[in-house]
């Protein structure tokens, strides 16, 4: 049983951003689920269910729900939704809300991108790159220390880094 007296009726306003369309138009048709790769998991990602949770204000349940992180970002759902909702963006908006509420949701990869500019160690494969006839370090931010400093200074002014600065190391 869901106890709606404990629900947060403003949840949808807290979570939803304009880019995700108007989720109040969702009529639960399931199109966003039928073509979704991650809906085939044993604990499936089901955007239509997440939309209901947001609209009903089931804050606690939603905060515990890890399925939005299974999205493969194929964006097929966004093409298909007949109501102009953007299910992919709904998933991202829920992730962002979760990271605001609970810092353990913050993907470690954000701290890597902050620290190095990348999700992969592009500056550490010099030998392989050289053997292929490529410069050891690609011409990315990894090659330009001064630029990386500026990049980090810029990100220091964003909410996520300001609010969790202990996680973001230079």
């Amino acid at each position: 049983m869901i106890d709606l007296t404990k629900a947060n009726h403003h949840l949808w306003k807290e979570i939803m951003e304009e880019d995700a369309g108007d989720i109040r138009r969702c009529f639960n048709c399931g199109t966003c689920v039928s073509g979704c790769p991650a809906a085939e998991a044993e604990t499936p990602l089901m955007i239509r269910r997440l939309v209901r949770m947001v609209l009903l204000g089931l804050e606690e349940k939603l905060l515990e729900d890890g399925t939005p992180w299974m999205c493969v970002t194929c964006t097929a759902c966004e093409e298909m939704c007949p109501m102009g909702v953007k299910p992919f963006e709904v998933g991202l908006a829920i992730r962002r809300w979760q990271t605001r509420k609970d810092e353990t949701y913050i993907p470690l990869s954000t701290t890597e991108v902050f620290q190095t500019g990348h999700t992969q160690p592009v500056e550490k494969v010099g030998e392989l790159r050289r053997s292929l006839g490529l410069p050891e370090i690609p011409p990315t931010i990894a090659k330009f220390t001064e630029l990386l400093k500026k990049f980090q200074a810029m990100l220091r002014e964003t909410e996520i880094v300001k609010n969790n600065d202990y996680m973001f190391k230079e």
Binding site: P37, L45, T73, A76, T110, P121, L132, I141, F151
Partner: protein, 296 residues
């Protein structure tokens, strides 16, 4: 034709042979590549876009501002880089408030976003700017006698309103540029199924993801006889190659060589396979020998 070459993170670190293939092959088709010095992660959807939208848009526009300074459009092979950069630009052009905030942030680094440069996927550039005829004309070797299946990167199909260039429901451009190299492209019922390699699915529920991908490979195996799979996205490339080992477990074997388009293009142009196609899980030697040995 001048384009800023946006490599992303995976290609230069894990599959730099694809980078080499692009750098060698594209100029032969009249595409001048300009390095986008100082670019960072696009950012990938699992990073800042999942944590802070403004930070995410600031990083995308950091990248686009480099192309803007150079006065070039951007060309990209990775599907999710393409989608991330494209969607960020669309959002910023639509939303003045976000654009202002992002420009405040960029200002800290001495940069500015105006939104001029457009991000183009390599398939789009090859098909629509270069054209299949030119591709067929410049190659020295070809793929005649080889059968291929193709994998369209999802991130180049949806949402078509923001980033589409092919027919999202019935794409054909990758098939046609592969055919321009002489291969026969075969269709199968699950051709348009996502590879499943991007994002959290394979990371959080690997066994389920393997099952999902197995359906695709079963259909491929039952309905076609491919000598190779041709992709044009770094995630499709790494995932569709690597996963065959795990699909092969229960007595059944899957070992279909996977190539990026730039790699077979470079091979057909006569470039050294040791430079342009040397990294893979499933061995590709037989196909490479066939291509390098064949005269057109």
């Amino acid at each position: 034709m001048r384009y800023g070459l946006y490599l992303g993170c995976n290609m230069p670190a894990i599959r730099p042979d694809v980078e080499r293939a692009m750098r060698l092959a594209l100029p032969i088709l009249g595409i001048e590549l300009v390095d986008l010095e100082g670019y960072a992660c696009c950012p990938a959807f699992g990073t800042f876009p999942s944590a802070d939208e403004i930070a995410s848009l600031a990083i995308s526009s950091w990248n686009l501002s480099i192309a803007e300074e150079k006065g070039v459009d951007v060309v990209v092979q990775c599907g999710s880089c393409y989608s991330s950069l494209r969607m960020a630009r669309a959002k910023l052009l639509k939303d003045e408030e976000k654009r202002e905030r992002v420009n405040e942030l960029l200002g800290i680094a001495g940069k500015k976003f105006e939104g001029k440069p457009c991000t183009r996927h390599l398939i789009d550039v090859l098909y629509n700017e270069v054209g299949t005829e030119k591709i067929s004309q410049v190659i020295k070797k070809n793929l005649k006698g080889l059968k291929a299946v193709v994998q369209y990167p999802c991130h180049t199909r949806f949402p078509s309103e923001v980033l589409g260039f092919d027919n999202p429901g019935r794409p054909r451009m990758l098939k046609e540029i592969v055919e321009a190299l002489g291969a026969e492209v075969q269709h199968y019922s699950r051709e348009l199924q996502c590879c499943g390699g991007s994002g959290g699915f394979a990371r959080q529920a690997y066994q389920d993801a393997v099952k999902f991908t197995k359906k695709k490979y079963d259909a491929m195996k039952n309905e076609t006889q491919p000598d190779m799979i041709v992709v044009n996205c770094i995630t499709c490339l790494m995932y569709m190659d690597k996963i065959q080992k795990d699909l092969s477990k229960e007595g059944e074997e899957f070992s279909i060589p996977v190539f990026d388009y730039a790699q077979i293009l470079a091979l057909c142009m006569g470039f050294d396979p040791k430079e342009v196609a040397s990294i893979s899980v499933i061995p590709r030697d037989k196909i490479i020998e066939k291509i390098t040995g064949a005269m057109s």
